[in-house]
């Protein structure tokens, strides 16, 4: 593993204080506090409209907060653009998988490795040839060798989700934000992906924050859980604590079961 220099072991991996985000009249985030320790695996759950995706988007720099603060490894995020946030070691996936659909699966992965070197310029194509083997190895890891030469448009939804995850990993983030990594996948696929995510996160010592609707997956994977509702943090704790929290049962789990 090759951790970026921004890493600061003394601080929390993610420190969110009083985060506010409004869309016109609507308050999507209403003073969210969240602390995630390094190497922690944190699930964020909550009913629709709780502000989970908005939270991820603010953390990733896709949205600019209206108030509050975010620190990543002790570094304050201001109004940075997403690509600057990414350079701080924050990697993320999107609710609807976001890949390069006109490129082949392999080119997607090659690009991820190229991006992982924190460069954008470069006219020397031998660098890409050098990146080819690691890229193929990554495809192996996420099980996409079979479709390496297909354009992403032609591969299945699940493969795209896996590819996106693999690409983000290839940029070597220290903090990984996953927005519904298993949305729209079949049951078997879902478990497979969650296992993969966990394995990689543990192996690389990543800090993981993921939003997920699949409660089974959440309880199986997460070290701790944050429950959001109406733009606020409603409860926080270990899976056991959350499972036994009556209020959570009431507003969220109860509603679903």
């Amino acid at each position: 593993m090759n951790a970026p220099a921004t890493r600061n072991d003394g601080a929390a991996a993610l420190e969110v204080r009083g985060l506010v985000k409004r869309f016109g009249q609507f308050v999507a985030l209403d003073g969210v506090d969240l602390t995630v320790a390094p190497r922690e695996i944190r699930a964020v759950i909550g009913p629709n409209g709780a502000g989970k995706t908005t939270l991820i988007n603010v953390l990733g720099g896709q949205l600019v907060a209206d108030g509050g603060s975010v620190e990543v490894h002790g570094r304050r995020l201001g109004r940075q653009h997403p690509h600057q946030v990414a350079k701080l070691g924050v990697g993320r996936t999107f609710q609807i998988s976001s890949t390069f659909r006109r490129m082949t699966v392999l080119d997607n992965m090659l690009y991820a490795h190229h991006a992982g070197e924190r460069r954008w310029f470069g006219l020397d194509s031998s660098r890409l040839r050098r990146l080819r083997d690691p890229a193929l190895a990554d495809l192996e890891t996420i099980g996409l060798t079979h479709c390496a030469d297909q354009v992403v448009d032609d591969v299945s939804h699940g493969d795209r989700k896996r590819l996106e995850f693999g690409m983000v990993l290839a940029t070597r983030p220290t903090l990984l934000l996953l927005d519904e990594p298993t949305a729209g996948m079949g049951l078997g696929e879902r478990q497979e992906l969650i296992d993969l995510v966990l394995a990689v996160a543990r192996e690389r010592g990543l800090t993981l924050v993921f939003v997920e609707h699949d409660i089974d997956a959440v309880f199986r994977a997460a070290g701790s859980i944050t429950v959001m509702a109406l733009g606020r943090v409603f409860a926080e704790g270990t899976p056991d604590e959350i499972a036994s929290n009556a209020d959570v049962q009431e507003i969220y789990l109860g509603g679903r079961r």
């Binding site: 896709q62 997403p82 890949t99 390069f100 690009y111 470069g122 006219l123 194509s125 890409l128 297909q150």
Partner: protein, 323 residues
């Protein structure tokens, strides 16, 4: 498209193909009567211009509604440095593409501040301003009567030999463009162009990448324009005008978006219709229009898609999933 799907040679140039094409064109230039040689030269120059525009359309996710500016300013750079500044011809030839690249940098820096149709509209505004200045700044640009006589047309060479010069320059430029597209930078450009949100989340900001693509495209368009200026030994405001912009756009769209060869195929077909069909059928643009409609409805990959299919057929490995 097919070329990029295959694994083995996706990243390398098929040198045999390049060599064969080169020789065929060179021989054709020498066997043809002048008018045909002129047509070949036109195709070559526009293949470069359209390929440069194609870098924007197919790869960088930008649309330029004013690309003739960078084409025409190449020819103006050549003419003005020689006729007004008294530079030697070789210096003018070097200056042409650099002038284009400079304007590509300035206008591009503005245009990448915007996205999608807003950016395209800004390219239009920049182009119209440039055209107005070129058209009206009589003392400097010669206004609508242009500048001519600053360089001997075709450098005084015969059509065939000038054709060879153009062939060499265009081939080198298109090969260079191929290298760019398939270098790390090209990968960044394609990524940013296709999905800027994803690319940003991986650390690549859109603006400077698109600006780099814009400058490269402007430079190569400038090379094409400079060649065109030498070809005719003149320059006129038409060269930066809206018709040349539309010519380029139509060529790329005809050739087929999202393939490297779009500009080349498009230039061949468009100029063929322009030079041959126009003699027999005055309304050849109507034919182009109809072909474009067919491209959209039947074969969005354009001529490049058709060519790829034929190539696949010839090689006997058509896959069912291919379109």
């Amino acid at each position: 498209m097919a070329a990029e799907r295959r694994r083995g040679d996706a990243w390398s140039i098929d040198w045999r193909l390049v060599a064969v094409a080169f020789v065929v064109v060179a021989v054709a230039l020498h066997l043809s009567p002048p008018l045909v040689a002129f047509a070949i030269i036109e195709v070559l120059i526009f293949a470069l211009y359209a390929s440069a525009l194609n870098l924007l359309l197919s790869y960088s996710g930008m649309v330029s509604f004013g690309h003739a500016v960078y084409f025409g300013l190449g020819a103006y750079g050549l003419a003005i440095t020689i006729a007004k500044f008294g530079w030697p011809i070789w210096a003018g030839i070097v200056a042409g593409p650099l002038v284009s690249a400079f304007f590509g940098l300035v206008y591009g820096a503005l245009c990448v501040q915007l996205t999608a149709i807003y950016a395209a509209m800004l390219t239009l505004a920049c182009a119209e301003i440039t055209f107005a200045v070129v058209f009206q700044w009589f003392d400097f640009t010669g206004g609508d009567s242009g500048i001519s006589g600053h360089v001997p047309a075709m450098l005084g060479l015969s059509p065939a030999w000038f054709g060879i010069v153009v062939l060499v320059v265009v081939t080198l430029c298109i090969l260079a463009l191929w290298r760019v597209v398939h270098a790390p930078l090209g990968l960044t450009i394609r990524a940013v162009g296709e999905n800027p949100v994803r690319a940003a989340a991986m650390g690549h900001g859109r603006k400077r990448v698109q600006l780099a693509a814009f400058v490269i495209s402007a430079f190569l368009s400038g090379v094409a324009g400079t060649l065109y200026g030498i070809f005719h030994g003149n320059v006129f405001p038409e060269y930066v005008g809206v018709l040349f912009t539309i010519d380029g756009l139509v060529m790329v769209l005809l050739g087929g978006l999202y393939s490297f060869g779009a500009g080349i195929y498009g230039a061949i077909v468009y100029k063929l219709l322009d030079n041959v069909m126009a003699h027999y059928f005055e309304y050849w643009q109507l034919v182009i229009g109809v072909i474009l409609v067919l491209v959209v409805l039947v074969s969005p990959a354009g001529i490049a898609g058709l060519v790829a299919r034929v190539v696949e057929l010839v090689r006997g490995r058509v896959r069912g999933s291919e379109t």
